[in-house]
């Protein structure tokens, strides 16, 4: 903790990491609240894992065909959006087989990524860091992209908050009131996909599902309206990512994993604490 605070003013990479955590928390708190209330955390998990396919493919084309512009993060965004649309269409058209498709996409996305990374010549170990997070390796360019995605998520949700709320609370009624449920559901999955890409940088593909759900779940226990849940969830995510960074820095622990442990412990304490509190009352 002390080491983190004394090094923070000196090293830009630490400052970038801190800003990344804060920026990602905004999208994470908002979209995480939808993911938890609409119960689509497994969809978020599946989208996260297909991201590896996009990262691997982008790096392959960069190295083998010299597509210099094709940054792995673009590949990640592309793969996440494609899988969001596929899952969305399947779940709307063939409800009963939804989980099969989510699971398959999860594994096939990873497999694609592993194959591309394996066949890409040169050193590609850094891609594997996307599995467990690489918040300390964020560049200023990455920061701009994260800020851009953040703005997109916030503006969309501010404009269509009522429609998304109706969709998550009571889809059938929303449809009857003339809300284009299919469109908003696909839009929500695409926003989830973009948020997942942000979080891959912070905690890595494997642990995205925890960071998108845990703060929202804690906030959901403590708030009575969705907009308050989003605000509290955002604050909690900022606390978790910052604490994860600060705690892991001194003893040289992986920041992503530390963040998740802090979030998970908090969730456990809040949920069990509230149960005990209600029993005693």
């Amino acid at each position: 903790m002390g080491a983190f605070l004394s090094d923070l003013p000196r090293y830009p990479f630490l400052q970038y990491a801190l800003i990344t955590g804060v920026l990602a928390s905004i999208a994470c708190g908002i979209i995480g609240s939808y993911v938890v209330t609409k119960r689509i955390s497994y969809i978020a998990g599946s989208i996260a894992h297909t991201v590896l396919g996009g990262l691997g493919a982008a790096r392959y084309f960069q190295t083998v065909y010299h597509w210099e512009w094709f940054h792995p993060l673009y590949g990640a965004i592309f793969a996440a959006l494609i899988s969001a649309v596929i899952i969305g269409l399947v779940s709307m058209r063939a409800k009963q087989r939804e989980d099969t498709v989510i699971g398959s996409l999860w594994a096939v996305g990873m497999a694609t990524g592993i194959l591309f990374i394996y066949k890409t010549p040169g050193y590609n170990e850094d891609l594997m860091s996307y599995l467990f997070g690489s918040i300390l390796m964020v560049s200023p360019q990455d920061l701009w992209m994260i800020a851009g995605l953040d703005i997109l998520v916030v503006i969309t949700v501010v404009l269509f908050y009522n429609q998304f709320l109706a969709l998550c609370f009571d889809e059938e009624y929303a449809r009857l009131r003339g809300v284009h449920v299919e469109f908003y559901y696909l839009a929500l999955l695409c926003l989830t996909a973009l948020t997942v890409v942000l979080l891959v940088t912070v905690v890595g593909i494997v642990m995205v599902i925890a960071l998108i759900t845990l703060p929202a779940a804690v906030a959901g226990e403590l708030t009575k309206r969705l907009q308050h849940m989003m605000a509290l969830s955002t604050v909690l995510t900022v606390l978790f990512t910052t604490a994860g960074l600060a705690v892991s820095y001194g003893p040289d622990l992986p920041a992503g994993a530390t963040t998740i442990i802090i979030a998970g412990t908090t969730y456990l304490l809040v949920v069990s604490g509230l149960r005990v509190f209600r029993l005693l009352r």
Binding site: T37, L165, F169, A174, R177, G178, R225, L226
Partner: protein, 247 residues
């Protein structure tokens, strides 16, 4: 000369089946405007199916349905609907007023927050159902009966010309039920009210006709019948309907 009463809902030879099992067979009836109508029938007899067909949530396998002279899907903006069951996350963080405001969607609101008039109309709907004091309470903390009243308020908030309520009295006590039916009875002077109910005798005091559903549909007017005769008559009527459907 009597003013001509328009038919709001028209079913013509409508058939519907779920995965090959027939639910409704050759159903033809009409609902005139500004009436209070009750749909009754045994469980799984097709009451909710009838409502969902009127809303265009289900498509008939045969026959035609018109609401306001249009297809049910096109008529949706003019219909207020209260579902019997809400497939809602029991922990969903949403306030009573938030829920009622959803009734205002599709009334010109497209982007950004709800307007002042939307809030005023929603609060008025809550007041009518005596849930105004609970406007800021979390929806998840309400009892079953209170939730149903909030959902009726949500249906009213869309300022419907046709109000469809699926078992609105399923979990309220007698006093509340009486109040509710008096309210609906008053409303039926200006709009058409259709209530699905399993409670025969009681409803009949207020409703003008009863639509009996059990795979087939029969409509019984109640205007000529008053007082205690109702319960006796209805008892025999129901028996007759069931008998007819056994075939």
């Amino acid at each position: 000369m009597m003013m001509k009463q328009h038919q709001l809902v028209t079913f013509q030879n409508v058939t519907f089946s779920y995965d090959g099992t027939p639910v409704l067979e050759d159903v033809s009836f009409t609902i005139p405007e500004r009436t209070f109508i009750s749909i009754v029938g045994p469980n799984a007899g097709g009451k909710t199916t009838l409502l969902k067909l009127m809303l265009g949530l289900l498509k008939p396998s045969g026959g035609t349905i018109e609401v306001f002279g249009q297809s049910p899907v096109k008529a949706r903006p003019r219909i207020g609907y209260m579902p019997q069951h809400l497939q809602f996350d029991p922990q969903f963080p949403v306030s009573v007023l938030d829920v009622v405001l959803m009734g205002r969607l599709g009334n010109g609101v497209r982007i950004g927050p709800y307007r002042k008039t939307d809030r005023a109309i929603s609060l008025e709907a809550l007041r009518k159902l005596e849930m105004h004091d609970a406007k800021n309470r979390p929806f998840r903390a309400l009892s079953g009966g209170q939730r149903q009243r909030v959902l009726i308020a949500r249906a009213l908030a869309s300022e419907p010309e046709l109000l469809l309520l699926d078992e609105p009295t399923a979990s309220v006590d007698m006093a509340v039920e009486t109040e509710l039916f008096e309210l609906l009875h008053n409303m039926s002077k200006t709009i058409t009210v259709v209530v699905v109910s399993h409670d025969l005798g009681f409803v009949s005091q207020y409703v003008q006709s009863v639509v009996c559903v059990n795979r087939r549909v029969m409509v019984h007017p109640t205007t000529a019948v008053t007082g205690e005769v109702i319960s006796a008559l209805y008892g025999s009527d129901v028996c007759m309907v069931r008998h007819n459907h056994r075939e």
